[in-house]
């Protein structure tokens, strides 16, 4: 049990849990093993489970106007889809094992059980989700403001490889190809030449602000 508890504690949000609380978490999780290419869930499908990566790696992709875009990779100890156990909603991305992987999964019912057996663990999970959401909201609002005011910090793209840990554009939509109706070619230019002229955000800005005020 001790090793398993450590796997639970390796998950950031459970890092401070005691043994009994880890055991309560262990009682509600289900192990799933998959080879590279195994789809754990698909964008648009109803979601009510979260996943903890115990071995291997998962990759998340979303469909966009540009085709399938890899949005994140998840390694050992990372959590995927934790919001769904609190607020079930369609999956926002397709998640696939990118290597032979072992994951622990638990459901909304599991969370209900955890609330009874270990309020501490349930509370740790929920509070971690709230903090995470708060941080993302702050950052995304900042990003929106920067986009609207044209003062976004542009990353340097000069000869720089895309960050490998997260996000690279995929030329083809590998996972969602059967579901995708749009052809995502050509690959978007990743060059400083694509910088918008300074005033070009103005009309969009006015429209968006109107939308925000509910005047549209």
């Amino acid at each position: 049990m001790a090793d398993n508890r450590d796997i639970i504690r390796r998950v950031r949000i459970f890092a401070t849990l005691g043994d009994a609380d880890c055991d309560a978490v262990l009682r509600i999780i289900k192990a799933r093993r998959g080879e590279a290419g195994t789809v754990l869930f698909r964008e648009g499908e109803p979601g009510a489970t979260m996943i903890i990566v115990a071995e291997g790696e998962l990759v998340a992709q979303v469909n966009s106007k540009l085709g399938a875009v890899e949005v994140a990779r998840f390694g050992v100890g990372e959590v995927v889809g934790e919001a769904a156990v609190i607020d079930p909603a369609p999956r926002s991305a397709t998640v696939t094992a990118s290597a032979r992987s072992l994951v622990y999964e638990f459901s909304r019912d599991g969370l209900k059980q955890l609330e009874q057996e270990s309020p501490a663990a349930a509370s740790a999970l929920v509070r971690a989700v709230i903090r995470d959401v708060a941080r993302r909201l702050r950052e995304i609002n900042q990003r929106i403001e920067l986009e609207l005011t044209g003062q976004v910090q542009r990353p340097s793209m000069s000869g720089e490889a895309p960050r490998s840990r997260r996000a690279s554009m995929m030329g083809e939509p590998p996972v969602a190809s059967q579901r995708s109706t749009s052809v995502p070619t050509p690959r978007p230019a990743m060059s400083p030449l694509a910088q918008p002229p300074p005033q070009s955000t103005k009309p969009a800005l006015g429209k968006l602000l109107d939308k925000m005020r509910g005047n549209s």
Partner: protein, 187 residues
């Protein structure tokens, strides 16, 4: 006499699953306050120690931007405001101003911690409400950023969408669900 009755809390959809006893516990945990139009509940940048449950009236959510103050949303009775403060130490992210005469139940962090200690299940469910409101707000906000970036992309201005999706689409965001009256201006 209290400004707030259990019956009034009963009208808050988000609290639909609460028993009368749970609602009594919440009323006892909070402090009823009445605001007249134009009064601020709190200001952007303030230290955040409490959340507000709007029971009557309406409030505006206003945020300072490089282009001046912007109205982000108007929240109606039944909404939560500032709920993140019960769990997170960050300062207020927006200014809240009463638009109409507004009655709220203010719950501060200390009272909330006492609630969690003495009524673990009520506290836990309230935390879940906070989480759900935040998650839905995040989904809506993410969708807005996606719209913004896609509209830029369709005008040939695409470049950094990748970076935005990178940070924001997983795992909490993406689809816009009906919100707990916390719709950030997406209609």
């Amino acid at each position: 006499m209290s400004l707030i009755s259990v019956q009034q809390l009963r009208s808050v959809r988000a609290l639909a699953g609460y028993s009368d006893r749970d609602l009594e516990t919440l009323v006892a945990t909070g402090k009823p306050l009445r605001y007249t139009p134009q009064m601020k509940l709190f200001s952007e940048g303030d230290a955040a120690r409490s959340c507000f449950l709007l029971l009557t009236g309406e409030v505006d959510v206003i945020k300072a931007t490089a282009n001046g103050p912007q109205l982000l949303a108007t929240l109606k009775a039944g909404s939560f405001v500032g709920q993140i403060a019960l769990v997170d130490n960050s300062p207020r992210s927006a200014t809240i101003v009463a638009r109409l005469e507004t009655v709220v139940l203010e719950i501060d962090r200390d009272a909330f911690e006492r609630l969690c200690a003495t009524h673990a299940q009520v506290g836990l469910r309230f935390q879940e409400l906070i989480a759900i409101a935040g998650i839905r707000q995040l989904r809506a906000t993410t969708a807005r950023l996606r719209d913004l970036l896609e509209s830029k992309a369709s005008r040939g201005e695409l470049l950094y969408m990748q970076g935005a999706l990178d940070e924001w689409d997983m795992p909490l965001a993406g689809d816009v669900a009906p919100t707990l009256e916390l719709d950030y201006g997406r209609r």
